[in-house]
Symmetry: C2
Subunit: 97 residues, 2 copies
DNA sequence: TTGACAGGCAAGTAGCCGCTTGCCTATAAT
DNA sequence: ATTATAGGCAAGCGGCTACTTGCCTGTCAA
């Protein structure tokens, strides 16, 4: 699996993105705390980790190890593709040759 | 299920949106033909119908019966919510009291 | 050095969802 | 009236995935 649409398909990952947008460079631990305290979401460390992996896989998140902490950074540019893909059809006068 | 993110999670539904954006007011039959001829996707009538139901459920598609045909119209405004939800965090100088 | 802490890897499980199949309704044409 | 066409409803199946559990690695402080 590796596409931005599926990455956004889960509310957990969307909330994760919310959290990540609050501050850049958060550790997995900090993220998990925020997820709990600010969104009331209790997920296993592993679950969070897997979600972050997916987000990273589609380019929404990049990481950098620093000591024993893994810092996470957001990159929202992949989202632009969504808005670009579809455009409203002309209401009429459209005749397909 | 009823949220725009999950609606977009499947490639089939995305392609469906592509097709719908080509011309407004297509019947389910016409849609299915286009899906096959232009995207090489062969789906059961039922599969297409179910996908269209989902798209309608989240407000991306509206329908109107006309005789024995069901015409489909696109409304992309629900997509705007996606771009609005997330904003990049400030790179630095963010200290959470 | 030893223990605590942040995180990784792998396998297992349960529930969801995309798709099909089978049958039924309603409209339009002959 | 009969037949063909456009679509609807419901149940069933297989695969995927979100989440957990158990164990292991590496870094920092005492």
């Amino acid at each position: 699996m590796a596409d931005i649409y599926e990455a956004l398909a889960t509310e957990a990952r969307r909330k994760l993105l919310d959290v990540l947008c609050q501050r850049d460079g958060q550790s997995q631990f900090e993220i998990r705390v925020r997820l709990l305290t600010e969104h009331g979401i209790t997920l296993t460390r592993q679950a969070v980790s897997q979600h972050l992996d997916v987000l990273e896989e589609v380019g929404l998140v990049s990481t950098s190890k620093q000591g024993r902490c893994k810092l996470h950074f957001v990159d929202l540019t992949p989202l632009e593709e969504i808005g670009r893909r579809w455009q409203s059809p002309k209401q009429k006068g459209d005749n397909q040759t």
